[in-house]
Symmetry: C2
Subunit: 211 residues, 2 copies
DNA sequence: TGTAAGGGTGATGAAGAAATCACCCGCTTT
DNA sequence: AAAGCGGGTGATTTCTTCATCACCCTTACA
């Protein structure tokens, strides 16, 4: 197998040199370029045509996220692995949205880093376990956001009553509205949740945890 | 260090037994219970009080996602690692939303599985590299969804013109509206995007990829 | 067979968002 | 000082969504 061609981008010269020697010790890899900031990186990448770019986030001139965006604009298939100390949510989510193929912390073990690079090279994505929880949290939040706004507040009230097994008439008296209104709310709930009857709506609502 | 107490839930008896002997061979782990479906699992968990539950998704009676939801309802801190062959998006995202602490494929290497369990035990989350890309994709989609709906269609039109460097007057003539209207649209754009001027708005829009 | 319950359709007033425009201010350039 | 441009404030019209209600249909069952 051919060696994986790598470009290392990091403003910390010491770290960059250390990382490069580490990679060069591994027979799988070959470092074909390095840069101390995003601006330089774009030039180096243009010339070196690497398989993978290891990209720091905190950098002067052009930071990692802007650099990533610029890279993506030119080549949507270029593999980019963020390698940073930042566990900041904005950096993390920002990198993902900008199209990073992975996000690993600088304190990763060499063996771990090697596996990560090979995974990314083979087309997969990798996250450090330390940041994976935050990503999952982001997924949960966004799914909840998707649910929020789907139903109006009143409709959720009605849905809660439904979940308690109340009939149309009971709900009407509890909420001080007419039975007709309750039925209309339920109709809208069924439409919005894309279900066919009350029971199914309650089941789905329980699953979406909006009771 | 104490051994990590594990419960294995999988309807495939052969796989379950194999997994259990594998785990028992490792000094770090101790399997304190097993179950062939979600229903059984809930009982077993109640009794065995494991540190971690390895949970399959495709199961009869009560599937893995429903089981996970039930577990979370009782104990929001219980660590649950999904261990499945399913690369289905609904299963994956569903598991995350339901609160899984990890999602790994059954074809994982023993050494890999061991590391994963230890990571989850120590409070982190883990995804198989094979599914990580899909999760990142989901994050990107949901962030885009968050952007959609932020600006009205008309406002996005104005924003596109701004990005082309057009002045208020030029935009007005292109869109067949008065300059005042253009200014108002721009004002709303600035407010909604939480930026202070046109240039910043364009930069942020480019970053959010809504041009 | 009539009555209760789930489900479907149409309609209306109130509230809020969207799109439009007029007018004002401050800075820069000429 | 006049003109051009970016930016701020108020006001109007239109459209959509929400919450409300009336009326009709089908099924089950007493």
């Amino acid at each position: 197998m051919n060696r994986v061609r790598i470009v290392v981008v990091d403003d910390h010269a010491l770290f960059r040199r250390g990382l490069i020697s580490l990679l060069e010790e591994m027979p799988e890899f070959h470092v074909v370029g390095e840069a101390a900031n995003g601006q330089e990186a774009l030039t180096v990448i243009e010339r070196a045509r690497p398989d993978i770019i290891l990209l720091d986030i905190n950098m002067p001139v052009l930071d990692g996220l802007q650099t990533l965006a610029a890279i993506r604009k030119k080549d949507s298939a270029q593999k980019v692995l963020m390698l940073t100390i930042s566990q900041n949510d904005d950096d993390l989510i920002g990198a993902i949205v900008a199209g990073a193929n992975g996000y690993v912390l600088k304190n990763a073990e060499p063996e771990m880093l090697k596996n990560t690079i090979l995974q990314v090279y083979s087309g997969n994505s990798v996250l450090s376990p330390e940041v994976t929880a935050r990503v999952l949290q982001a997924v949960r939040r966004s799914q909840n956001d998707r649910n929020r706004g789907l139903l109006s507040e009143r409709e959720i009230e009605v849905l809660k009553c439904l979940a308690r097994g109340q009939t149309t008439a009971q709900i009407a008296s509890v909420l001080f509205i007419s039975e007709n209104t309750v039925k209309t709310h339920i109709r809208h709930i069924l439409e919005k949740m894309e279900v066919n009857n009350r029971a199914e709506a309650v089941a789905k609502a329980a699953q979406m945890d909006l009771l």
